[in-house]
Symmetry: C2
Subunit: 135 residues, 2 copies
Amino acid sequence: MDQIASKTGAYLKKLAAAGTGLENCPVRVVLAPLGSKWSPLVLQLLSERPYRFSELRRLVPDISQRMITQTLRDLERDGYVQREVLPTKPPSVTYSLTPMGHSLFDSYRHLLQWADANHDAVLAARAEFEGNQAS
Amino acid sequence: MDQIASKTGAYLKKLAAAGTGLENCPVRVVLAPLGSKWSPLVLQLLSERPYRFSELRRLVPDISQRMITQTLRDLERDGYVQREVLPTKPPSVTYSLTPMGHSLFDSYRHLLQWADANHDAVLAARAEFEGNQAS
DNA sequence: CTGGATCCTCTATGATACTG
DNA sequence: CAGTATCATAGAGGATCCAG
């Protein structure tokens, strides 16, 4: 495992220092929840303004009730999202990004923009790859 | 679905324009492969210098033979990684980042650095969240 | 050395029904 | 409205064996 420390950057060095393996990798700990199916979309939406639970559901019709709840819980758990229950009747709940959530999204945004800008190039690469496979 | 276009940014607008749903979301198309378990690590390693297959395996002991192959294939497929077979005996294969791969990693790096810098804050948020749950 | 082929397990996600 | 609980399933990932 020390080979990792000697061959790569700070992230992997900390990884090696963690001892057992990759489970404690600081990068992975933070990134793993963002790799879920709906987190990017929810973060994107909340980066604009707070939304209520039902608003988010309507904005993302494909998401199931179960998964939006879980996604929001995960984001809240990691400190990216703040949940506020308004004492109306029936109750309404708004979700908004915390300062850390906004900070995260500021970094995440670079990747989203890259993805948007290079979408076609990636699709082209895939098409060519498939073509070479066929030959 | 038009509500999405009216309420959110360019990414979701394109998403809506795609028609059927979220499967064609340009951001998701590009990001999904990066959310895999080993892609970030492999990209990180290859961003430093090219590596041979067996080198990568040794650097990341936890990865299975099957998964490193698949990860490299996926990255190659999307145009991030170039595979070169050297006519030695026995054959050796080197993997390196393409220009697009380096471009991707330049954007990805922001997120990695954020993750590294905010690792403790996220863990603290999780601990507090768990604590509140218990009460 | 580099991988392909198989089998198996576990987790993420989805569908559905129920509640304050 | 905003969830929780339960059941079902597809796909990611791991272990192992085989081959050019």
